[in-house]
């Protein structure tokens, strides 16, 4: 809850600092910044860096919640600091605690090593694998399919879910909620030709079956996405992989074939669009 202007004119920002060249282990440092309405946490961090300690290190780029650089752990929650007002995060004493994303190795101050995050992402082949020859007509999808995929598509790869996940904390070989959500997006895309291969990759005990349904990924996501639901869906599909793959082949064959072979619009629930 963002509160109106407080009596306190200054806010205390506690930041976890770590410089691998000089520090044996991380420590907390406090800074005072003006407590103004409209100031975001990122503004506060910038103010500290520009006016008080130029060595403070953190990642940021677009400052409007689309680049996915500035995910940090604020008061125990993983959030994007660029879209979070400072005043909403202050406790009764006017203090906010900013730490790097948990469970990941710290490179310096608020910057963490996200290599496992990206490696697991590449492991699920996050790109679309379309048919070799593009069909004459368009791939049509039901509104429900579009809605499900649109949701997963808006992921900005900030790492908030990945680093909130305790399964990741225990075992870095776990694929992780971000990559499983992406896999969900590709598996359910009617244009994709390798859903079976994808389900085989994620349907293991390093993939969807390692998830312990802790729901931290949902709580952490700054875009209100639902990786847990994607994982549960992939679990169901992985258990009927062959049938799912056959249905996809059939669907694509129908689209590539003559017009008469296509299901009637009523059966698909969509509007017929003659090419």
């Amino acid at each position: 809850m963002a509160s109106p202007v407080r009596s306190k004119s200054m806010a205390t920002v506690r930041v976890k600092r770590f410089n691998p060249d000089s520090d044996a282990k991380p420590y907390m440092q406090e800074f005072q910044v003006p407590n103004l309405q409209g100031t975001t946490l990122l503004d506060a961090l910038h103010r500290i860096k520009h006016e008080q300690d130029g060595s403070l290190t953190f990642r940021r780029s677009c400052r409007h919640a689309i680049c996915g650089s500035c995910a940090m752990n604020v008061n125990g929650r993983n959030i994007l600091v660029c879209k979070t007002p400072l005043q909403g995060q202050l406790d009764r004493k006017g203090v906010v605690t900013i730490k790097p994303l948990p469970y990941l190795p710290i490179i310096k101050d608020l910057v963490v090593d996200r290599s496992t995050f990206w490696n697991e992402y590449l492991r699920v082949k996050p790109w679309l694998v379309p048919p070799a020859t593009s069909p004459e007509r368009e791939f049509r999808m039901s509104p429900e399919e579009v809605a499900a995929l649109h949701n997963a598509e808006t992921c900005i790869m900030c790492g908030a879910c990945y680093s909130a996940c305790q399964v990741v904390a225990l075992n870095k070989k776990y694929i992780g909620p971000h990559a499983l959500l992406k896999s969900f997006l590709r598996v359910l895309d009617p244009r994709d030709t390798i859903p079976g291969e994808r389900l085989a990759e994620v349907g293991t005990d390093e993939g969807v079956f390692r998830c312990h349904t802790i729901f931290n990924c949902i709580d952490a996501c700054p875009k209100n996405l639902n990786p847990t639901q994607a994982i549960e869906t992939l679990r169901r599909l992985a258990q009927k992989r062959t049938a799912f793959e056959a249905a996809r082949v059939e669907r694509q064959r129908t689209i590539a074939g003559p017009l008469a072979a296509e299901p009637t619009p009523a059966a698909e629930g969509g509007v017929r669009h003659v090419p």
Binding site: G76, Q166, T213, F215, N216, N226, T228, E232
Partner: protein, 115 residues
């Protein structure tokens, strides 16, 4: 540590699970004594029915019931799309197991301390 109801349920699920495996080993050891004859069986079974063990039995009941209803919760999440109700489901599992533990634990304690 990233704290949430989901994390609490995960830790409790693991702890009760491990405790129940340890109990299972003890249970097999006690009941297995029937292979050594009725006398041994009765004496070993009597040893684990003292008031202290009765108290532990209530804890065992709590662990079993919580583990079971946490599992039911996970089955519900798996088969129905209800992730948005995750907090309510967690508290529901907790309340149901608390009620069943009291309902089952009271007779155990009444019997143990009144005979």
């Amino acid at each position: 540590m990233y704290r949430s109801t989901g994390f609490v349920s995960f830790v409790l699920r693991r702890l009760t699970g491990i405790a129940l495996v340890l109990y299972l080993i003890a249970h097999i050891w006690v009941i297995g004594s029937v292979n050594g004859g009725t006398e041994l069986f009765n004496s070993r079974l009597a040893a684990v029915q003292t008031p202290i063990f009765k108290l532990a039995e209530v804890a065992l009941l709590a662990a079993v019931v919580y583990h079971a209803f946490d599992g039911v919760r996970l089955l519900i999440v798996h088969y129905f799309d209800v992730t948005e109700y995750r907090k309510s489901l967690f508290y529901a599992a907790f309340v149901v197991s608390a009620i069943l533990t009291i309902a089952g634990g009271l007779p155990i304690l009444l019997f143990a301390f009144q005979g």
